[in-house]
Symmetry: C2
Subunit: 196 residues, 2 copies
Protein backbone atom coordinates (compact mmCIF):
# COMPACT_ATOMS: atom_id res chain seq x y z
CA UNK A 1 0.00 0.00 0.00
CA UNK A 2 1.22 3.52 -0.75
CA UNK A 3 1.52 5.33 2.54
CA UNK A 4 3.29 8.51 1.47
CA UNK A 5 2.68 10.54 -1.70
CA UNK A 6 4.92 9.30 -4.48
CA UNK A 7 6.92 11.70 -6.57
CA UNK A 8 5.07 12.41 -9.78
CA UNK A 9 7.38 10.46 -12.12
CA UNK A 10 7.51 7.54 -9.70
CA UNK A 11 3.72 7.48 -9.61
CA UNK A 12 3.61 7.62 -13.40
CA UNK A 13 5.98 4.63 -13.68
CA UNK A 14 3.91 2.71 -11.16
CA UNK A 15 0.74 3.38 -13.16
CA UNK A 16 2.48 2.28 -16.33
CA UNK A 17 3.59 -0.95 -14.62
CA UNK A 18 0.09 -1.63 -13.29
CA UNK A 19 -1.44 -0.95 -16.72
CA UNK A 20 0.97 -3.47 -18.23
CA UNK A 21 0.19 -5.92 -15.41
CA UNK A 22 -3.51 -5.60 -16.26
CA UNK A 23 -2.80 -6.51 -19.86
CA UNK A 24 -0.63 -9.48 -18.87
CA UNK A 25 -3.30 -10.69 -16.45
CA UNK A 26 -6.02 -10.42 -19.07
CA UNK A 27 -3.95 -12.14 -21.77
CA UNK A 28 -2.00 -14.80 -19.89
CA UNK A 29 -3.41 -14.96 -16.38
CA UNK A 30 -1.14 -14.88 -13.36
CA UNK A 31 1.72 -16.79 -15.01
CA UNK A 32 4.19 -13.93 -15.51
CA UNK A 33 7.34 -12.82 -13.72
CA UNK A 34 8.70 -9.40 -12.76
CA UNK A 35 11.14 -9.53 -15.73
CA UNK A 36 8.12 -10.30 -17.99
CA UNK A 37 6.44 -7.21 -16.56
CA UNK A 38 9.59 -5.17 -17.27
CA UNK A 39 9.58 -6.34 -20.91
CA UNK A 40 5.84 -5.73 -21.37
CA UNK A 41 5.97 -2.24 -19.89
CA UNK A 42 9.29 -1.09 -21.32
CA UNK A 43 10.49 -0.24 -17.81
CA UNK A 44 13.96 -1.37 -16.64
CA UNK A 45 13.90 -4.60 -14.62
CA UNK A 46 15.79 -2.95 -11.73
CA UNK A 47 13.07 -0.28 -11.57
CA UNK A 48 10.34 -2.93 -11.51
CA UNK A 49 12.07 -4.55 -8.53
CA UNK A 50 12.16 -1.16 -6.77
CA UNK A 51 8.36 -0.95 -7.11
CA UNK A 52 7.36 -4.52 -6.32
CA UNK A 53 8.82 -7.22 -4.07
CA UNK A 54 7.06 -10.03 -5.96
CA UNK A 55 4.47 -10.79 -8.62
CA UNK A 56 2.01 -11.39 -5.80
CA UNK A 57 2.66 -7.79 -4.76
CA UNK A 58 1.83 -6.68 -8.33
CA UNK A 59 -1.49 -8.57 -8.22
CA UNK A 60 -2.39 -7.00 -4.90
CA UNK A 61 -1.49 -3.47 -6.00
CA UNK A 62 -3.40 -3.92 -9.26
CA UNK A 63 -6.48 -4.96 -7.29
CA UNK A 64 -6.03 -2.11 -4.80
CA UNK A 65 -5.74 0.46 -7.58
CA UNK A 66 -8.84 -0.91 -9.32
CA UNK A 67 -10.96 -0.75 -6.18
CA UNK A 68 -9.52 2.72 -5.50
CA UNK A 69 -10.69 3.87 -8.93
CA UNK A 70 -14.15 2.41 -8.34
CA UNK A 71 -14.41 4.13 -4.95
CA UNK A 72 -13.29 7.43 -6.53
CA UNK A 73 -16.04 7.08 -9.16
CA UNK A 74 -18.59 6.26 -6.45
CA UNK A 75 -17.63 9.30 -4.44
CA UNK A 76 -17.65 11.52 -7.50
CA UNK A 77 -21.22 10.45 -8.34
CA UNK A 78 -22.29 10.70 -4.69
CA UNK A 79 -21.13 14.30 -4.47
CA UNK A 80 -23.69 15.40 -7.03
CA UNK A 81 -26.51 12.84 -7.30
CA UNK A 82 -29.10 11.16 -5.11
CA UNK A 83 -31.49 8.23 -4.95
CA UNK A 84 -32.09 6.20 -8.09
CA UNK A 85 -30.05 8.62 -10.21
CA UNK A 86 -27.08 7.99 -8.01
CA UNK A 87 -27.61 4.21 -8.21
CA UNK A 88 -27.89 4.29 -12.01
CA UNK A 89 -24.84 6.49 -12.52
CA UNK A 90 -22.73 4.35 -10.20
CA UNK A 91 -23.80 1.30 -12.23
CA UNK A 92 -22.65 2.99 -15.45
CA UNK A 93 -19.25 3.97 -14.04
CA UNK A 94 -18.78 0.53 -12.48
CA UNK A 95 -19.51 -1.30 -15.73
CA UNK A 96 -17.23 1.04 -17.69
CA UNK A 97 -14.33 0.21 -15.32
CA UNK A 98 -15.14 -3.51 -15.34
CA UNK A 99 -15.24 -3.62 -19.14
CA UNK A 100 -11.74 -2.15 -19.12
CA UNK A 101 -10.17 -4.23 -16.35
CA UNK A 102 -12.66 -6.98 -15.49
CA UNK A 103 -10.95 -9.72 -17.46
CA UNK A 104 -7.67 -9.03 -15.66
CA UNK A 105 -9.47 -8.83 -12.34
CA UNK A 106 -11.11 -12.28 -12.71
CA UNK A 107 -7.60 -13.78 -12.75
CA UNK A 108 -6.73 -12.53 -9.29
CA UNK A 109 -10.08 -13.00 -7.63
CA UNK A 110 -9.58 -13.96 -4.03
CA UNK A 111 -11.26 -16.99 -2.50
CA UNK A 112 -12.31 -15.07 0.64
CA UNK A 113 -15.76 -13.54 0.55
CA UNK A 114 -16.53 -9.81 0.52
CA UNK A 115 -18.01 -9.69 4.03
CA UNK A 116 -15.13 -11.78 5.33
CA UNK A 117 -12.67 -9.25 3.91
CA UNK A 118 -14.64 -6.33 5.37
CA UNK A 119 -14.67 -8.05 8.78
CA UNK A 120 -10.89 -8.59 8.50
CA UNK A 121 -10.44 -4.84 7.86
CA UNK A 122 -9.01 -5.32 4.35
CA UNK A 123 -8.55 -1.66 3.30
CA UNK A 124 -9.81 -1.66 -0.35
CA UNK A 125 -12.80 -3.87 0.51
CA UNK A 126 -13.68 -1.72 3.52
CA UNK A 127 -13.45 1.44 1.41
CA UNK A 128 -15.81 -0.08 -1.16
CA UNK A 129 -18.26 -1.12 1.55
CA UNK A 130 -18.13 2.39 3.03
CA UNK A 131 -18.78 3.92 -0.41
CA UNK A 132 -21.79 1.69 -1.16
CA UNK A 133 -23.50 1.72 2.25
CA UNK A 134 -24.87 5.31 2.13
CA UNK A 135 -26.39 4.67 -1.33
CA UNK A 136 -28.40 1.74 0.03
CA UNK A 137 -29.31 3.62 3.22
CA UNK A 138 -30.62 6.56 1.23
CA UNK A 139 -32.86 4.29 -0.90
CA UNK A 140 -34.23 2.69 2.27
CA UNK A 141 -34.82 6.07 3.93
CA UNK A 142 -36.64 7.34 0.83
CA UNK A 143 -38.86 4.23 0.83
CA UNK A 144 -37.60 3.19 -2.63
CA UNK A 145 -36.62 -0.19 -1.21
CA UNK A 146 -37.72 -1.82 2.06
CA UNK A 147 -35.56 -1.83 5.21
CA UNK A 148 -33.13 -4.73 5.01
CA UNK A 149 -29.85 -6.22 6.21
CA UNK A 150 -27.32 -3.64 4.98
CA UNK A 151 -24.40 -6.05 4.66
CA UNK A 152 -26.47 -8.48 2.63
CA UNK A 153 -27.76 -5.67 0.39
CA UNK A 154 -24.16 -4.61 -0.30
CA UNK A 155 -23.05 -8.21 -0.87
CA UNK A 156 -25.84 -8.55 -3.46
CA UNK A 157 -24.65 -5.37 -5.16
CA UNK A 158 -21.04 -6.47 -5.57
CA UNK A 159 -22.25 -9.95 -6.57
CA UNK A 160 -24.59 -8.75 -9.33
CA UNK A 161 -21.91 -6.32 -10.57
CA UNK A 162 -19.24 -9.05 -10.40
CA UNK A 163 -16.47 -8.41 -12.93
CA UNK A 164 -16.90 -11.90 -14.33
CA UNK A 165 -20.60 -11.29 -15.02
CA UNK A 166 -19.77 -8.06 -16.85
CA UNK A 167 -16.93 -9.70 -18.83
CA UNK A 168 -19.26 -12.59 -19.69
CA UNK A 169 -22.09 -10.37 -20.99
CA UNK A 170 -19.55 -8.37 -22.99
CA UNK A 171 -17.74 -11.34 -24.55
CA UNK A 172 -20.65 -13.73 -25.06
CA UNK A 173 -23.91 -12.05 -26.10
CA UNK A 174 -21.97 -8.86 -26.89
CA UNK A 175 -24.03 -6.51 -24.75
CA UNK A 176 -22.98 -2.85 -24.71
CA UNK A 177 -21.79 -1.34 -21.41
CA UNK A 178 -25.00 0.75 -21.35
CA UNK A 179 -27.23 -2.32 -21.67
CA UNK A 180 -25.23 -4.19 -19.04
CA UNK A 181 -25.44 -1.27 -16.60
CA UNK A 182 -29.19 -0.76 -17.12
CA UNK A 183 -29.97 -4.46 -16.82
CA UNK A 184 -27.79 -5.17 -13.78
CA UNK A 185 -29.19 -2.10 -12.01
CA UNK A 186 -32.77 -3.24 -12.68
CA UNK A 187 -31.96 -6.76 -11.40
CA UNK A 188 -30.32 -5.39 -8.28
CA UNK A 189 -33.22 -3.06 -7.57
CA UNK A 190 -35.69 -5.94 -8.00
CA UNK A 191 -33.62 -8.09 -5.64
CA UNK A 192 -33.55 -5.32 -3.03
CA UNK A 193 -37.26 -4.65 -3.44
CA UNK A 194 -38.09 -8.28 -2.70
CA UNK A 195 -36.16 -8.25 0.61
CA UNK A 196 -37.38 -8.27 4.17
CA UNK B 1 -13.90 -37.24 -17.75
CA UNK B 2 -15.25 -40.70 -16.99
CA UNK B 3 -16.44 -42.20 -20.26
CA UNK B 4 -17.07 -45.81 -19.20
CA UNK B 5 -18.63 -47.01 -15.94
CA UNK B 6 -15.95 -47.58 -13.33
CA UNK B 7 -15.82 -50.75 -11.32
CA UNK B 8 -17.47 -50.24 -7.96
CA UNK B 9 -14.27 -50.26 -5.85
CA UNK B 10 -12.49 -48.03 -8.37
CA UNK B 11 -15.37 -45.57 -8.19
CA UNK B 12 -15.25 -45.70 -4.40
CA UNK B 13 -11.52 -44.93 -4.37
CA UNK B 14 -12.07 -42.06 -6.79
CA UNK B 15 -14.77 -40.60 -4.55
CA UNK B 16 -12.50 -40.92 -1.54
CA UNK B 17 -9.73 -39.12 -3.43
CA UNK B 18 -12.06 -36.33 -4.52
CA UNK B 19 -13.41 -35.95 -0.96
CA UNK B 20 -9.84 -35.59 0.30
CA UNK B 21 -9.09 -33.14 -2.53
CA UNK B 22 -12.07 -31.06 -1.39
CA UNK B 23 -10.67 -30.88 2.12
CA UNK B 24 -7.19 -29.96 0.87
CA UNK B 25 -8.65 -27.26 -1.38
CA UNK B 26 -10.71 -25.80 1.44
CA UNK B 27 -7.82 -25.85 3.94
CA UNK B 28 -4.78 -25.00 1.83
CA UNK B 29 -6.01 -23.92 -1.56
CA UNK B 30 -4.54 -25.35 -4.74
CA UNK B 31 -1.01 -25.74 -3.36
CA UNK B 32 -0.90 -29.52 -2.95
CA UNK B 33 0.68 -32.34 -4.94
CA UNK B 34 -0.54 -35.82 -5.89
CA UNK B 35 1.64 -37.35 -3.12
CA UNK B 36 -0.02 -34.89 -0.66
CA UNK B 37 -3.39 -36.16 -1.88
CA UNK B 38 -2.23 -39.75 -1.33
CA UNK B 39 -1.21 -38.94 2.24
CA UNK B 40 -4.42 -37.03 3.01
CA UNK B 41 -6.68 -39.77 1.62
CA UNK B 42 -4.75 -42.81 2.85
CA UNK B 43 -4.64 -44.12 -0.73
CA UNK B 44 -1.34 -45.44 -2.17
CA UNK B 45 0.52 -42.88 -4.28
CA UNK B 46 0.70 -45.27 -7.24
CA UNK B 47 -3.10 -45.59 -7.13
CA UNK B 48 -3.51 -41.82 -7.06
CA UNK B 49 -1.38 -41.60 -10.22
CA UNK B 50 -3.60 -44.21 -11.87
CA UNK B 51 -6.61 -41.97 -11.25
CA UNK B 52 -5.16 -38.56 -12.07
CA UNK B 53 -2.50 -37.36 -14.50
CA UNK B 54 -1.90 -34.12 -12.56
CA UNK B 55 -3.20 -31.95 -9.76
CA UNK B 56 -4.92 -29.84 -12.41
CA UNK B 57 -6.79 -33.00 -13.39
CA UNK B 58 -7.87 -33.42 -9.74
CA UNK B 59 -9.22 -29.86 -9.66
CA UNK B 60 -11.15 -30.41 -12.85
CA UNK B 61 -12.63 -33.71 -11.72
CA UNK B 62 -13.57 -32.22 -8.36
CA UNK B 63 -15.42 -29.41 -10.12
CA UNK B 64 -17.07 -31.84 -12.55
CA UNK B 65 -18.29 -34.08 -9.72
CA UNK B 66 -19.64 -31.09 -7.79
CA UNK B 67 -21.63 -29.78 -10.76
CA UNK B 68 -22.77 -33.36 -11.46
CA UNK B 69 -24.15 -33.58 -7.91
CA UNK B 70 -25.91 -30.25 -8.29
CA UNK B 71 -27.47 -31.31 -11.60
CA UNK B 72 -28.58 -34.62 -10.02
CA UNK B 73 -30.28 -32.66 -7.21
CA UNK B 74 -31.91 -30.33 -9.75
CA UNK B 75 -33.28 -33.23 -11.74
CA UNK B 76 -34.48 -35.01 -8.62
CA UNK B 77 -36.47 -31.93 -7.55
CA UNK B 78 -37.71 -31.33 -11.09
CA UNK B 79 -39.15 -34.85 -11.29
CA UNK B 80 -41.62 -34.12 -8.52
CA UNK B 81 -42.12 -30.36 -8.11
CA UNK B 82 -43.21 -27.37 -10.14
CA UNK B 83 -43.20 -23.60 -10.19
CA UNK B 84 -42.11 -21.71 -7.10
CA UNK B 85 -41.93 -24.92 -5.05
CA UNK B 86 -39.41 -26.27 -7.49
CA UNK B 87 -37.41 -23.03 -7.36
CA UNK B 88 -37.38 -23.03 -3.55
CA UNK B 89 -36.41 -26.68 -3.22
CA UNK B 90 -33.60 -26.32 -5.74
CA UNK B 91 -32.33 -23.34 -3.73
CA UNK B 92 -32.28 -25.46 -0.56
CA UNK B 93 -30.40 -28.34 -2.18
CA UNK B 94 -27.96 -25.95 -3.86
CA UNK B 95 -27.12 -24.16 -0.62
CA UNK B 96 -26.70 -27.46 1.21
CA UNK B 97 -24.15 -28.62 -1.37
CA UNK B 98 -22.38 -25.25 -1.41
CA UNK B 99 -22.11 -25.18 2.39
CA UNK B 100 -20.35 -28.55 2.15
CA UNK B 101 -18.03 -27.87 -0.79
CA UNK B 102 -18.26 -24.16 -1.52
CA UNK B 103 -15.06 -23.17 0.24
CA UNK B 104 -13.11 -25.75 -1.80
CA UNK B 105 -14.86 -24.66 -4.95
CA UNK B 106 -13.92 -20.98 -4.56
CA UNK B 107 -10.26 -22.07 -4.83
CA UNK B 108 -10.65 -23.48 -8.32
CA UNK B 109 -13.05 -20.92 -9.72
CA UNK B 110 -12.31 -20.40 -13.39
CA UNK B 111 -11.78 -16.95 -14.86
CA UNK B 112 -14.04 -17.68 -17.86
CA UNK B 113 -17.67 -16.68 -17.45
CA UNK B 114 -20.62 -19.05 -17.28
CA UNK B 115 -22.10 -18.10 -20.67
CA UNK B 116 -18.64 -18.29 -22.23
CA UNK B 117 -18.27 -21.87 -20.94
CA UNK B 118 -21.76 -22.81 -22.16
CA UNK B 119 -20.94 -21.39 -25.60
CA UNK B 120 -17.68 -23.39 -25.63
CA UNK B 121 -19.66 -26.57 -24.91
CA UNK B 122 -18.01 -27.21 -21.54
CA UNK B 123 -19.90 -30.36 -20.41
CA UNK B 124 -20.60 -29.64 -16.69
CA UNK B 125 -21.55 -26.02 -17.38
CA UNK B 126 -23.82 -27.03 -20.27
CA UNK B 127 -25.50 -29.67 -18.08
CA UNK B 128 -26.15 -27.07 -15.39
CA UNK B 129 -27.57 -24.62 -17.94
CA UNK B 130 -29.82 -27.39 -19.32
CA UNK B 131 -31.04 -28.24 -15.81
CA UNK B 132 -31.86 -24.63 -14.90
CA UNK B 133 -33.45 -23.46 -18.17
CA UNK B 134 -36.79 -25.35 -17.84
CA UNK B 135 -37.28 -23.99 -14.30
CA UNK B 136 -37.06 -20.41 -15.59
CA UNK B 137 -39.17 -21.18 -18.64
CA UNK B 138 -41.92 -22.67 -16.49
CA UNK B 139 -42.02 -19.56 -14.26
CA UNK B 140 -42.30 -17.37 -17.36
CA UNK B 141 -45.04 -19.54 -18.88
CA UNK B 142 -47.00 -19.45 -15.61
CA UNK B 143 -46.72 -15.64 -15.54
CA UNK B 144 -44.84 -15.73 -12.21
CA UNK B 145 -42.03 -13.73 -13.79
CA UNK B 146 -42.08 -11.69 -17.01
CA UNK B 147 -40.66 -12.96 -20.31
CA UNK B 148 -36.93 -12.29 -20.37
CA UNK B 149 -33.57 -13.19 -21.84
CA UNK B 150 -33.18 -16.83 -20.76
CA UNK B 151 -29.36 -16.84 -20.72
CA UNK B 152 -29.27 -13.69 -18.63
CA UNK B 153 -31.87 -15.11 -16.22
CA UNK B 154 -29.74 -18.24 -15.75
CA UNK B 155 -26.54 -16.18 -15.37
CA UNK B 156 -28.27 -14.21 -12.59
CA UNK B 157 -29.26 -17.47 -10.91
CA UNK B 158 -25.76 -18.94 -10.79
CA UNK B 159 -24.39 -15.51 -9.80
CA UNK B 160 -26.74 -15.01 -6.84
CA UNK B 161 -26.14 -18.63 -5.74
CA UNK B 162 -22.37 -18.22 -6.18
CA UNK B 163 -20.46 -20.55 -3.84
CA UNK B 164 -18.46 -17.63 -2.51
CA UNK B 165 -21.64 -15.75 -1.52
CA UNK B 166 -22.91 -18.82 0.32
CA UNK B 167 -19.56 -19.43 2.04
CA UNK B 168 -19.42 -15.73 2.98
CA UNK B 169 -22.91 -15.68 4.55
CA UNK B 170 -22.09 -18.89 6.43
CA UNK B 171 -18.69 -17.80 7.75
CA UNK B 172 -19.36 -14.11 8.41
CA UNK B 173 -22.85 -13.36 9.74
CA UNK B 174 -23.32 -17.08 10.48
CA UNK B 175 -26.57 -17.51 8.55
CA UNK B 176 -28.10 -21.01 8.54
CA UNK B 177 -28.42 -22.85 5.21
CA UNK B 178 -32.21 -22.39 5.45
CA UNK B 179 -31.94 -18.61 5.85
CA UNK B 180 -29.40 -18.38 3.02
CA UNK B 181 -31.62 -20.44 0.68
CA UNK B 182 -34.78 -18.45 1.49
CA UNK B 183 -33.04 -15.10 1.16
CA UNK B 184 -31.15 -15.86 -2.06
CA UNK B 185 -34.31 -17.29 -3.63
CA UNK B 186 -36.28 -14.14 -2.73
CA UNK B 187 -33.51 -11.92 -4.16
CA UNK B 188 -33.36 -13.92 -7.36
CA UNK B 189 -37.11 -13.84 -7.78
CA UNK B 190 -37.15 -10.07 -7.25
CA UNK B 191 -34.37 -9.67 -9.81
CA UNK B 192 -36.27 -11.77 -12.36
CA UNK B 193 -39.52 -9.94 -11.63
CA UNK B 194 -37.90 -6.60 -12.41
CA UNK B 195 -36.67 -7.76 -15.85
CA UNK B 196 -37.86 -6.89 -19.31
Amino acid sequence: MITAPLRRDTARTRDRLLDAAGELLADRGTAFSLPDLARASGVATATVYRHFASVHDVHREFHTRLIGELVAELNDVSDRHHGLDRLRLIGERWVRLAVQWGRASTRIRRPEGFLERVAAGDPPTSALHAGLAPVVRELVDAGTIPAQDLDYAILLWITVFDERVIADLTAGPGWTPERIATTLTASLLGAWQNAG
